[in-house]
Structures are given as structure tokens and as C-alpha cells.
């Protein structure tokens, strides 16, 4: 169950979107706020197109609850955890793939992986560099 609530509608250009995914152990945090309108729009669109709304109403702001499958949930978690700015180019690329979840995932994947790269290499870099220096 994904619960999305627009908790702050006072600033038209700054949507504070709150996502509550308490029902899933896979998600490390139970409550996350995104201060990004583009990211928020993508998440709402994903839920709208691929989820089933179960409940909506008004409680400290408008909210609706929807049931989504694992793939959509995984994509939402990735979008929430992504540290890089949602550029206009990336937003447009993702927006074009909203109906095709596999395409959406493929577009998002390089950006998610890029955040996992470390300038110190992976766990085997120390040994690889020793071997390479012997050449």
C-alpha cells in the first residue's frame, strides 16, 4: 500500500509530496518527503496509471491511497532515493516512458547506478590495481 499525500499546497511551485510506505519492509524509511515537483509528478503519474486507488480524502491536506505492484513500488522507491536533481531532460525522458514500465526502468537505471559508483572502486579494486601495476 502506498499512501501519497499533498501535505503542503501553500506554495504553487513547490509541492511537498509525502509518501508513506509503512507496509513494506523493503523500504528503509517509513516516511519520506520529496521537495521536487517533477519527481512528485512522476510518482503520482505512476500511481495513477499503474495503481488502483483504494481511498482518498482530506487529512492535513489531500491524500489518496493506491495499491501498486512490486515493479511500480520499486520504481517509486528509486525515484524517492535518487539524490541527483531531476533535470528537465531526464524528466521528459521519463515522462515519455510512463506507460511502459520496463522502458521507464531502463531509462532510470543508468542514473541510479551512477549514484552507486564510488571513486575508490569496488571491493576488488585493491587487488586489481596491484595486478595491473605489475604489467
Amino acid at each position: 500500500m502506498v499512501s501519497i499525500s499533498f501535505s503542503d499546497l501553500r506554495y504553487p511551485n513547490h509541492i511537498a509530496l509525502s509518501i508513506d510506505i509503512t507496509g513494506y519492509l523493503a523500504f528503509t524509511g517509513s516516511f519520506q518527503t520529496i521537495h521536487s515537483a517533477n519527481r512528485g509528478c512522476l510518482i503520482v503519474e505512476l500511481v495513477k496509471r499503474h495503481g488502483k486507488t483504494t481511498d482518498f480524502g482530506w487529512e492535513n491536506g489531500f491524500y489518496f491511497r493506491a495499491e501498486v505492484n512490486d515493479q511500480v513500488l520499486n520504481l517509486i522507491i528509486r525515484l524517492v532515493n535518487m539524490k541527483r536533481n531531476m533535470t528537465a531532460k531526464l524528466y521528459e525522458e521519463l515522462e515519455a516512458k510512463l506507460d511502459n514500465l520496463d522502458g521507464f526502468e531502463a531509462t532510470l537505471a543508468p542514473y541510479v547506478i551512477a549514484e552507486q559508483l564510488t571513486p575508490f572502486g569496488g571491493s576488488s579494486w585493491a587487488t586489481i590495481s596491484t595486478y595491473l601495476s605489475q604489467s
Binding site: 543508468p110 547506478i113 559508483l117 572502486g121 569496488g122 576488488s124 579494486w125 586489481i128 595491473l132 604489467s135
Partner: protein
């Protein structure tokens, strides 16, 4: 690097050509379906860190080889390699080895990053290609995230899960 290819003008016993160059490293990255996102990030991290001090060539492969991507620095790894990641199919290493063998120069380093659940690893042709690449390379390294393999001419590293 020095070579006796052209005779020295100083003395015939001296090596003729001397040049200083960073050796290129060929990274053969397994992008098959058995490689998860965390493993792929680990493989690309090894390439990313290498690109900081030497030119790297990347061959992405699963059941086929997806050509050679060259990167001179870390930014190019992000812009060229990461956005060009393809795969998700089976795991056949021979086409990638063939591509590498055809393009690499003598004494280039070769690193194969995979889980080594490779369909054609025991095939005679693949073994022959592995031997040929190892013989042509300066250092040949196999980096496995899952299975341990022992292939003559190759050094083996087993990655530890993060």
C-alpha cells in the same frame, strides 16, 4: 616501453624505440540477466576508478558482444559506458573475447568482470580464445562475483559482497 623493432641510431645493441605510455585496460563487463544492479554497479565502479589514471576500453556482453566503448576519463565512463549499458540475455563470453582479441594491442591489460556462470566457458573455442587473449595481454584478470574458476594464464579475484 622499448622495442628492437627499429635499430637504435646510438648503438645497435640499444633498443630502438622508447616511448612512455599508459597501458590501455580492456574491461569485459558481463551484463547478462544473472547480473543484478548492485553487481553491475560494482563492475562499473572498477572501470570508473581505472578511468581516473589510464585509458579504458569497455566491452559490454551477454549472449553477444555490444561493441567497444572507449573512455579516457571518469566523465566519459558516466556519459558513454553507463548510458550505453545493454544486456539482460544469456551469458556467452566467446563473442566478447573475439572482439577484444581483434582490437587489443600487445601488452594491453584485460579484466573480465562476471559471475562466471558462463554457458560456453568449457567450450574448446572459448578456452582457446581465453589463452590467446591472456598471451597477448600484459596482465589478464578474472573478477568473479559468484563462481570460482581456474584458467591458465589468468589471475583470479573473487569479489566479496558489500
Amino acid at each position: 616501453m622499448s622495442s628492437y623493432k627499429r635499430p637504435s641510431r646510438k648503438h645497435q645493441d640499444f633498443p630502438g624505440i622508447q616511448r612512455y605510455a599508459l597501458q590501455r585496460t580492456w574491461n569485459l563487463i558481463d551484463t547478462s540477466g544473472s547480473i543484478g544492479e548492485a553487481e553491475l554497479a560494482q563492475e562499473l565502479s572498477e572501470v570508473y576508478v581505472q578511468a581516473g589514471d589510464r585509458p579504458v576500453s569497455v566491452v559490454l556482453w551477454d549472449a553477444e558482444s555490444y561493441g567497444v566503448i572507449e573512455a579516457k576519463n571518469r566523465n566519459e565512463v558516466l556519459n558513454r559506458v553507463l548510458t550505453g549499458v545493454k544486456g539482460g540475455g544469456g551469458t556467452v563470453i566467446a563473442p566478447a573475447l573475439r572482439t577484444t582479441l581483434g582490437r587489443m594491442q600487445y601488452r594491453d591489460n584485460v579484466v573480465v568482470l562476471s559471475d562466471f556462470d558462463i554457458y560456453d566457458l568449457e567450450e574448446p573455442e572459448t578456452r582457446q580464445l581465453l589463452s590467446a587473449v591472456a598471451a597477448k595481454s600484459g596482465v589478464a584478470v578474472l573478477v568473479s562475483s559468484h563462481r570460482e574458476v581456474d584458467i591458465q594464464g589468468w589471475r583470479f579475484i573473487k569479489t566479496s559482497p558489500d
